[in-house]
Symmetry: D2
Subunit: 337 residues, 4 copies
Amino acid sequence: MSNSRRLRLALFGSGRIGQVHARNVAAHPNIDLAIIADPFIDGARRLAEETGARAVEDPEEVFAEQGLDGVIIGSPTNTHVDLISRSVDHGLAVLCEKPIDLDIQTVLECQQRLQGTTVPIMLGFNRRFDPHFSAVRSRVEAGEIGRLEQLTITSRDPEPAPRGYIETSGGIFRDMTIHDLDMARFFVPEIVEVSAVGSNVFSDDIEELGDFDSVVVTLRGSGGELINITNSRHCAFGYDQRLEAFGSEGLLSASNVTPTNVKKYSSAGTEESSPYLPFFLERYVQAYSAELEAFAHSIRTGAPCSPSFEDGVTALVLANAAEESATTGKTVTIGKA
Amino acid sequence: MSNSRRLRLALFGSGRIGQVHARNVAAHPNIDLAIIADPFIDGARRLAEETGARAVEDPEEVFAEQGLDGVIIGSPTNTHVDLISRSVDHGLAVLCEKPIDLDIQTVLECQQRLQGTTVPIMLGFNRRFDPHFSAVRSRVEAGEIGRLEQLTITSRDPEPAPRGYIETSGGIFRDMTIHDLDMARFFVPEIVEVSAVGSNVFSDDIEELGDFDSVVVTLRGSGGELINITNSRHCAFGYDQRLEAFGSEGLLSASNVTPTNVKKYSSAGTEESSPYLPFFLERYVQAYSAELEAFAHSIRTGAPCSPSFEDGVTALVLANAAEESATTGKTVTIGKA
Amino acid sequence: MSNSRRLRLALFGSGRIGQVHARNVAAHPNIDLAIIADPFIDGARRLAEETGARAVEDPEEVFAEQGLDGVIIGSPTNTHVDLISRSVDHGLAVLCEKPIDLDIQTVLECQQRLQGTTVPIMLGFNRRFDPHFSAVRSRVEAGEIGRLEQLTITSRDPEPAPRGYIETSGGIFRDMTIHDLDMARFFVPEIVEVSAVGSNVFSDDIEELGDFDSVVVTLRGSGGELINITNSRHCAFGYDQRLEAFGSEGLLSASNVTPTNVKKYSSAGTEESSPYLPFFLERYVQAYSAELEAFAHSIRTGAPCSPSFEDGVTALVLANAAEESATTGKTVTIGKA
Amino acid sequence: MSNSRRLRLALFGSGRIGQVHARNVAAHPNIDLAIIADPFIDGARRLAEETGARAVEDPEEVFAEQGLDGVIIGSPTNTHVDLISRSVDHGLAVLCEKPIDLDIQTVLECQQRLQGTTVPIMLGFNRRFDPHFSAVRSRVEAGEIGRLEQLTITSRDPEPAPRGYIETSGGIFRDMTIHDLDMARFFVPEIVEVSAVGSNVFSDDIEELGDFDSVVVTLRGSGGELINITNSRHCAFGYDQRLEAFGSEGLLSASNVTPTNVKKYSSAGTEESSPYLPFFLERYVQAYSAELEAFAHSIRTGAPCSPSFEDGVTALVLANAAEESATTGKTVTIGKA
């Protein structure tokens, strides 16, 4: 299979994340976006017009389409499992946004159903493709800091999602921390213990919903690595996405991203950086492109997807363990997969 | 005229800089590369194949082509003036690499010949389009640092070009400093005085050719602004491209660019940045794209080009003045254009 | 009592930390070092000669001395409680190195015995006096980042102490983390919960002694604040002492300290900082001076000491809780004092 | 002569700079301040009381005093030459604030008069003792960046001195740039050419006085080194004192100094440093102490002073050359001393 074979994809969902994927596919030199499926047909139509795709209401039209190579699932979480299964049944490669589902039973059943398939399934943990984080990881793998001992992940959203979103989000661990849990596994694939502490320090809304607005999670890897995740649902200075990998021979850090490296010096402030890129759409723009590229590569070559469906399962297992730990005050041991 | 009208361009020259332009055009969603003309037909053919263009040996084929909107001139310097004139005669918009010519008389004659034309002519001073430098300039224009008083430009190449290149380059002022002179004019359009000091500190080759390997140039703007340019033909830590704008109310700086913001801490070094992007092809990759965009915009809307042909003339006048000053030890006054 | 009244102090212990204190007192314009007591009389004599003090073997000579204002206790940990009690009995103000004792019972008995005394007793948690950390704390107190929500403390020693030291150190929580626990309380005085995870990732020696070489501790403050401490007994790039205070309106960070702000750029590394100050004697040199000043201030004015004896008790309680949590995998709740 | 022999000094002048020296001497463990001479006896008395010295009106009392080792001259510029000569006649070592005098003839006559003396005479170019700048210089000397090729000095005062001060200051080159000219010579002792450009961009007062408010000076060293100095009499973000040494194998930079390394992140600004130390009294506090130490060392050991009287002469020669160049628009060649 040639590495530059032209691919045809369909997209489920024309919301915020669907738009990111649609535009990336449209801009790609040798991937075409054939169909955008969304029951909210108006949004699908607008996006289809912009990207040269066809808008459809009914997902069945995707499965009826000839000559498709794969699908990108950016529809609501509760549709993921069904769309994954049906796509795989039709031999369509899948790039599915996280999480697979909020319910671990549903996820495990889906996993069982998919057992043995050779159709590529990739989970949308986009941060693995961020050039800064992935450079740290490559350099750790290359041995630049010796053996990895500690990993510190800081991840704060600029401001909480609306109450309605939080309500159905599955809680901070499954909605927000899950990205950091996958990032932890990007560096330390096997996690054996999870401790978490949650707190409510600024949002009455979130507290009323029985969720935390701030959490700290500590993981232990199978090699004794200690991983620390700090989350907050708000951050006055923008989207705070940082990482430090500490090893026996040094440390590698990735810091926040500014649109330019311009600094300002005035009576009001010294060496002020440009404001950080505001949120994930801006911060991870390169990551989404690289993710699409990796997905295309797996379709073309059959190379295993990373992050895989299993990575999606494990992230949810860890999120559930974190929630349990934060609730019970006890460290939760993770069994072998 | 719609702002997204599809454009067809031709390219003269398939060397290093020609390749940059060819690939940018090929990757652009609504600009097509129709023809690549180069007497070294093999290079033209390889590039044409890669970018979907047609390769020709004879520039006349470009002028014979129907439906072209403009040309990009990336051929050797001594072909520029002729290609500009002929393109304009054929009503083709021109994006010409710097310098227009090494000889000011030739340039002035060309300027006279072009007088009154409404065909867009843009000079390839790509650095005006660098996001870091252009952000500083926009913020200066927006008044963030009050009135601009001093501008400090540092510009060092990673290593000298081969002796053969230096020999026909027109000397450091016309070949290298000319970019910084245009950058100075990007901030302070009217320069009234030029002083320069040149030195030979590391290259016997360059000295034998009667050229300098290191220079410092001081300009005075019509508002009394003092602009300082420091150049070296080599730089052990890579391509050094920085700028500081100092005004009555503060300073804005643009520093060197790294591929990621990863820092390393080890026993061998503390807070080490990633190496800087190596040379202009990497450092100014965004600038070349933005330059093409601006060129397309001028073609579509008739908006005046910046940098213009006149900017190319003035940069050469200043380079000549700098050389004269470095040779005579006297400040050179620049007359009104 | 005048604020510049000349003070006379005695010092117990002429080891590494005793030398720091002796030299600070000797260099102080209006504090004199009268006596240095150490059964290892040779070390005491050398230090006494250098600092203009009298060396004695027997601590009783200190208590027999007339005209002393206070003592600094830098002798081995197991002598602290007795020396504190006796000094207070003699009306001598006390600056005692941490910890008060490794055994909480002994500490609590000592606390009871001291109940009601008005003699100043200060605990040597020197980091409260570090200009960088104390600037962050003052600015947090001043409301610069709104309400404090999260505190992240990174603290790594350049290399493990010798096995013999570790053996009697009381373990990493009571020996090393205790400083960070006090730093946490410098920002959030009332801690209500402690979770900790320990690991052995690099030192067989430490593992054999039943101690951890790496730990992560999470504290919850009474206002819901989440505090995170990361420790390692080694660090390839030197002494790693950093802190971030995150609040509702921003973040304040204090980073590692270099002897100068010189940066190096070469083919081997870009923007390399000078190496960090190697260990606590260098890193906290200003802190030890400021600590002495604060101690003198309390002696002269009767102002309450900060950190106080009670701060020393609480730090030990938290260190014990961290050890318990790391051992049992359960969050430990801290009762009201 | 022992290296710790107690020294007795006298001070001429109890103004701003006199106070710096008086307090440094008073704080020094083995240097005493015996006398402070100033016709404005009130100031002298206040300072004498604070530092334990004796205040006198008449400088003759200094020369009549027995057992003095040296003098520090911090009186008005026009008294320097006479005080230097008389001090040397009395065998008193001299630390004299810059400049020796504003008139080169007077300075050269003084130089002739001093010929052959073995009494230590040090010029107060305090910046040579700044730990940041001197670290750069030591590392350049150690060969860390190969052969020095270019030196860039940025030096901006926070705000112009009062009109009255400017009026008698001798002009920006002799008053302000002279420090940077000496800094240039700290790295490149032999300067062979001086070019300068001056401008008036913000101060009508300074323009009326026939002085510049902003200048750029380019020097050439005897090895072809190019040195660039940028000055402004004002700077919105504080005292701007920076330096970059560029060599065949890299670059070393020294940047502005903040009281702590705390950074602030808020909605109003990102990664804001603490404000820079405001002016020379704060910025160069360590430099003044190290200067005193070096002076004491020369007195005790007879080691040659650096900066020497000759360094003071040369700095004035260069300042005069810069003024000439700025006025005539011609590069000025410096003859061999």
